[in-house]
């Protein structure tokens, strides 16, 4: 059987804030691999370093030490402009507070992601509509985000993240602001994004209801990773 390829790899990643003697460690020598087609949950108490880890995986923060490889490309030492290019080409983001553009309609929110990739307006409108159909939001294409429920907003955020066909979706507490039913719907949707085996999903969460959607759960404490908990195909069996 062919081994899944690595989407993101972190080797000896350390992140320090401040200068001695008041230096604080957010991450201490983290080694981690995210496989293609994997749904990985990152858990841990507040201040444990999980959002820092997500930011480094997302090329938004640079590590103090260590190496980060995204889609086969080492991003260590890249300029902010080149890091932005890596994000644009490989990564999609879903945020706890949705981070939608309130002045744009639902479809325009998705079209922005395509415009950044240089797609013309006509094609981006068609692709955006297709992405909205995938998350069951096509009928809301021309309303503004303020009229949507929390679950709908998160589905829109997922459509926007998906629109650029990223290799990895990084989600920060995507269910934190949702009730249990919408939380399940959103996690089910996110989990399904990895079903074709080419895309990975990394989710930072406190929400234990999300466990059943994961392939692997990693807990982080004081900037160190604890041994991963393999979910033994629970996710795949849930699908069947």
């Amino acid at each position: 059987m062919q081994q899944p390829r690595t989407a993101i790899s972190l080797t000896g990643v350390t992140k320090r804030y401040g200068e001695p003697p008041s230096q604080e460690y957010a991450l201490r020598g983290v080694d981690l691999e995210v496989k293609q087609g994997e749904v990985l949950l990152l858990m841990g108490p507040s201040g444990s370093g999980k959002t820092t880890l997500l930011s480094i995986m997302g090329c938004i923060l640079s590590p103090t030490d260590g190496d980060v490889v995204v889609a086969g490309q080492s991003v260590t030492g890249l300029s902010t402009g080149n890091l932005a290019k890596v994000r644009l080409d490989n990564l999609g983001f879903v945020f706890q507070e949705y981070n939608l553009f309130p002045t744009l309609s639902v479809i325009e929110n998705v079209m922005v992601a395509l415009d950044l990739r240089g797609m013309n307006r006509k094609d981006s409108a068609e692709t955006a509509m297709s992405a909205l159909e995938n998350v069951g939001m096509a009928e809301k294409a021309h309303v503004y985000p303020e009229t949507l429920s929390g679950g709908q907003k998160q589905r829109l955020a997922i459509a926007r993240a998906l629109a650029g066909s990223p290799k990895v979706i990084l989600a920060d507490e995507p269910t934190a602001a949702l009730d249990s039913e919408n939380g399940r719907l959103v996690m089910d949707l996110m989990s399904s994004l990895a079903d074709d085996g080419t895309r990975s999903v990394v989710v930072v969460t406190h929400d234990q209801r999300t466990f059943e959607f994961a392939d692997r759960i990693i807990t982080i404490e004081d900037g160190l990773l604890l041994p991963p908990r393999e979910m033994n195909n629970i996710r795949k069996s849930r699908k069947t």
């Binding site: 922005v112 920060d172 507490e173």
Partner: protein, 376 residues
């Protein structure tokens, strides 16, 4: 999408948009009207010279402007008349005088005397009466713009100029005076009676060149053949008078300073409101950066916002300015806005608004996309 985002960012907060546009409109109106006043004053200052129809003005030595000059004698007039290249010459008087209104009030005027048959230096733009009426005894011509100031209501009214009887036989429209004293035209003979000049004195000699002689050649010929006078082509004397009033007295400088202040105040207001709009949308800009947008994408959004503000503000501002210019036709102060000024103002407004967005651009340049994550 950049234009859509920029437009929607502006329209999202209509109150802030109104404040931004107010800043732009304020700056456009203030600058345009100040420049329009400057041009209007410049035209007004030299209007009598420019409309004189003369090629050369002969003055007493050292004259600095049209309104104030020492007298010449008639002897100089005859010397000018006999200078080579002179087709004809005309006597011209300008003197400040007291005008006694029909109801008894008093006003200062500038009485201008010219020779109607020589057709140089006379009034223009007649709306009531004709130039021929100046041949009547004690006849004077005033401008409609100053009827109220001069206390006259109709043609034919009698007044006193320097305690001598005068009769307003005709009206012009649009002959303004830069000083507070309106111009009143009369024939040379009539004006001489109103003035404090001796019968053999005059203020200027206006000369017309023979065919084939340029104004510059005529000026040089007069300078060679007549001693104790200065001679200028009409253009030179017009420029000299404008330069004196607009630059040497500080009148023009103060107008241009007000225009500059308008630019500064407008820039500050627009910069503040655009910056506030940027701060309102800072989370969205951070999201764009996190999504992989290059800084240039966000700069273009900010510059487009500034450009849209400039276009809207300019539209309102220039319309108000032209309205003011149109109303000024009926006022003692002329506001003249040539097409070139309107075009120039458009580009100045663009520069003002785009430079106002630089503070916002600087903010976005240093924006950390990690803002998108809570609890980092």
């Amino acid at each position: 999408m950049i234009v859509t985002i920029a437009r929607q960012n502006l329209l999202h907060d209509k109150v802030r948009l109104a404040v931004t546009l107010t800043g732009v409109v304020f700056a456009v109106v203030l600058i345009t009207i100040q420049i329009g006043l400057f041009i209007g004053f410049t035209h007004t200052i030299s209007a009598v010279i420019d409309h004189s129809g003369a090629d050369v003005w002969v003055t007493s030595p050292g004259v600095k402007n049209f309104d104030i000059a020492l007298p010449l004698t008639k002897e100089k007039y005859y010397q000018v008349l006999s200078a080579p290249g002179v087709e004809k010459a005309s006597k011209f008087i300008i003197q400040f005088a007291d005008w006694k209104k029909p109801d008894g009030g008093q006003e200062s005027i500038e009485i201008i005397g010219f020779e109607p048959d020589k057709k140089m230096g006379g009034p223009w733009g007649f709306v009531k009466g004709t130039p021929a009426m100046l041949d009547l005894r004690d006849a004077v011509v005033a401008d409609q713009l100053y009827m109220e100031k001069l206390g006259i209501k109709k043609q034919g009214e009698s007044v006193e100029i320097n305690s001598r009887k005068a009769r307003v036989v005709a009206f012009t429209r649009g002959i303004r005076s830069f000083t507070t004293s309106p111009f009143v035209f009369a024939s040379y003979k009539t004006a001489l009676q109103f003035s404090h000049l001796r019968p053999d004195e005059l203020t200027y000699i206006l000369a017309k060149a023979e065919n084939g002689i340029t104004p510059g050649q005529l000026r040089d010929s007069i300078a060679r053949n007549v001693n104790g006078v200065d001679s200028y082509t009409t253009t030179e004397f017009s420029d000299k008078t404008r330069e004196y009033w607009m630059l040497n007295t500080g009148a023009g400088t103060s107008i241009l300073l007000a225009a500059f202040l308008g630019l500064v105040v407008g820039t500050v207001i627009v910069a503040q409101t655009l910056y506030a709009t940027t701060l309102d949308h800072i989370g969205e800009f951070a999201t764009l950066k996190a999504m992989g947008a290059p800084n240039s994408y966000i700069y273009f959004i900010l510059i487009t916002q500034a450009t849209l503000s400039a276009i809207l503000g300019y539209g309102f501002g220039i319309a108000i300015s032209y309205l003011a210019a149109s109303i000024s036709q009926f006022a003692a102060m002329a506001i003249i806005i040539p097409f070139e000024v309107a075009v120039g103002m458009f580009f100045l407004t663009l520069v003002m608004c785009v430079s106002s967005s630089l503070i916002s651009i600087r903010k976005v340049m240093t924006l950390d996309p990690a803002l998108v994550f809570k609890g980092r």
